[in-house]
């Protein structure tokens, strides 16, 4: 009798432990999903900014991510800068590169043929990737996280400080973007171009400056994503390709061109990925994004928050 009671009590406590563990697992997946999702959101926002002002997919976005990580690497190890100036330098560096690319790579085309412009960004992306490969080499490198890797316990789930930094800085970036688009005159003109390019041109909004700014913003967002994510992944010249493609999938999931959609799409995709990897199989983790992409295109081509 006693043994039965004991074993039952034991079983109950064991079950409690199991549900507790399950909850911990879930939290763990949730955090990793949100972290990845924030990165996808940053990249997706970069895609949206350029799409809204120029009406094209900017394939170079993919390489902004790698370049961000690389510049951070050089800032830390070649120039010996501390974390914060290094981060700023990397982000600004990518933004400047992006402006150069727009000014000397895209604008001379003077074409409004989308086919030509999109292929042009493909070509520029190949060249930029080539430059990165040439300057920093083909080897995989490790970038240190912003603060030392001592896991923080949150409700039993262990979270890397870098993940918290990612979430925090993503929120800051989104805040800055909102401020820029709604509180500055340049932001206003960019919104005007996004809503109606012809009308914007008629009232005299300078198209060149708007395009240049949109590229700078896209570069800064991509660079920030690169700086933040490469300590978690590893740093290599083509690390941005996969991340960029997922960022694009996130942008489509949220409704291409919509800023809240990009953020929502990024987070949703990150969560979906980490939950599917956690509960099903991690072998096809990278495929999830594209299956989602195809499903969204099939069922609701305008995305979650699209309004076309």
């Amino acid at each position: 009798m006693l043994t039965v009671i004991l074993s039952r009590a034991h079983r109950v406590s064991f079950q409690r432990g199991a549900t507790h563990l399950m909850f911990q697992d879930f939290l763990q997946y949730l955090f990793s999903g949100l972290t990845n999702g924030a990165i996808y959101a940053l990249i997706a926002l970069g895609f949206c900014v350029v799409n809204n002002t120029m009406g094209i997919v900017n394939f170079v976005q993919v390489d902004f991510v790698s370049l961000g990580g690389m510049l951070m690497f050089s800032a830390l190890f070649a120039m010996g800068l501390p974390m914060v100036p290094g981060l700023l330098l990397a982000v600004i560096g990518v933004a400047l590169t992006a402006m150069l690319i727009e000014r000397f790579g895209l604008r001379p085309a003077r074409s409004d043929n989308h086919l030509v412009l999109i292929f042009l960004t493909v070509g520029l992306s190949i060249i930029l990737r080539g430059i990165i490969k040439l300057v920093w080499g083909k080897n995989r490198m490790a970038l240190p996280p912003l603060t030392p890797d001592v896991p923080v316990k949150i409700f039993g789930a262990s979270v890397l400080p870098q993940a918290l930094w990612i979430l925090l800085l993503t929120v800051v970036a989104i805040g800055l973007l909102t401020w820029f688009f709604y509180r500055t005159s340049l932001g206003l003109s960019m919104r005007a171009v996004a809503s109606n390019p012809t009308a914007a041109a008629v009232v005299g909004i300078p198209a060149g400056r708007v395009r240049l700014t949109s590229y700078a913003i896209a570069g800064a967002l991509g660079g920030l994503a690169g700086v933040l994510v490469t300590p978690i992944t590893t740093l290599s010249y083509d690390v941005g390709v996969l991340l960029g493609l997922k960022g694009f999938a996130a942008a489509i999931l949220g409704g291409f061109g919509s800023f809240p959609g990009a953020i929502l799409g990024g987070l949703a995709l990150g969560l979906l990925e980490s939950l599917s990897a956690g509960y099903f199989s991690s072998a096809y983790k990278d495929v999830v994004a594209f299956v989602v992409l195809l499903l969204v295109l099939f069922i609701r081509p305008t995305g979650l928050l699209g309004n076309k």
Binding site: A109, Y284, D286, L294
Partner: protein
């Protein structure tokens, strides 16, 4: 008309047919003069690429759509043939057509949702598709051999006559390439092709003129996928070994570069683009280090200065200059 003028008029009238005949003759005699297996192997590779690029150019140049995922169809053809012949012991020829049929089905299923979208979504969606395909090749190793590839694919053969050396392969592969060329040349002159050209020019106008734009796009997507699949099967049977690296997204962009350099919407340009990009590494020693610069740079420069392609762009420029000079002479 003098007899000389008559001859020129005849040539002008039948320029396409004559060029095709000339090309076929040249290809027929080529192995007589060139028996270096390495060179023949290269020209065979050009032909395989040309088949993919011809189909892709129909889709990009004529239908005005973007695909950065044709390496997936190419790979589906190659792996399809490999798995069908080695794993399931299906004879090679039926397997090739079976696989082409299945790829057509895949293209249809993927194409219907994807082609709802305009250009820029399409580019990324097809790139994503290619990425998924490549990861499946790597992950599903019990079927595809994973990263180490798939070996031991048999040669194509008629009875005991196997296409196992470069000269026999030359006739086989270029035979297929010429068939694809004829198909494309005739297709763009048919009503379907005219509808396609209208679609590339202006989708709304084409729809207003009665072109069923969505169906046409899907059809041409499927056709280009079938061509890529056949090329893939030939690739597998030629090299008897395939690995996922031949079908990744960078190969897909290379196909697009071939199309753009040959000229979007130029059938003959497709042959030129495939030839140039396939031969480039042979001509330049420094190519390995600077491959990205050469490929990307060519793409960017051609798009910036000769958006109609290297050959047709240069010919157009010369034509304009000649006409301008003639007019100037006539004025003075």
């Amino acid at each position: 008309m003098t007899s000389k003028q008559k001859i020129f008029y005849f040539i002008y009238l039948h320029r396409t047919g004559l060029t095709v005949t000339g090309l076929s003759l040249a290809l027929l005699l080529y192995p007589v003069f060139e028996n270096n297996p390495y060179t023949l192997g290269l020209t065979n590779l050009i032909a395989i690429n040309a088949i993919v690029v011809l189909g892709l150019n129909l889709f990009i140049g004529y239908a005005g759509q973007i695909s950065l995922g044709h390496a997936a169809f190419f790979g589906l053809g190659a792996y399809g043939s490999a798995i069908a012949t080695v794993t399931f012991n299906i004879p090679a020829w039926p397997a090739m057509f079976l696989v082409a049929g299945m790829v057509a089905l895949v293209a249809l299923i993927v194409g219907i949702p994807i082609l709802r979208l305009s250009g820029h979504y399409l580019a990324m969606a097809t790139l994503g598709m290619n990425f998924v395909f490549h990861s499946i090749l790597l992950q599903w190793d019990e079927m595809t051999g994973g990263p180490s590839g798939f070996a031991g694919i048999p040669y194509l053969s008629f009875g005991s006559f196997a296409f196992d050396d470069e000269i026999r392969l030359h006739y086989l592969i270029w035979g297929f390439a010429l068939l694809a060329l004829l198909l494309c040349l005739n297709l763009v002159r048919s009503s379907v092709g005219r509808g396609l050209a209208a679609l590339a020019g202006d989708e709304v106008a084409a729809a207003a003129l009665g072109v069923d734009t969505r169906k046409t796009k899907v059809k041409i997507f499927v056709l280009s996928a079938i061509l890529a699949s056949v090329a893939g099967s030939l690739f597998a049977h030629t090299y008897s070994f395939i690995s996922p690296d031949s079908f990744d997204i960078f190969v897909a962009t290379d196909f697009v570069i071939m199309v753009v350099i040959g000229g979007m919407g130029s059938i003959w340009g497709s042959l030129f683009g495939a030839g140039l990009i396939t031969m480039l590494p042979e001509w330049m020693d420094i190519f390995e280090t600077y491959k990205d610069f050469v490929h990307g740079g060519l793409l960017v420069l051609v798009l910036l200065f000769l958006p109609q392609g290297l050959v047709s762009g240069i010919i157009d420029n010369i034509k304009i200059k000649v006409t301008l000079r003639r007019r100037k002479n006539a004025e003075t």
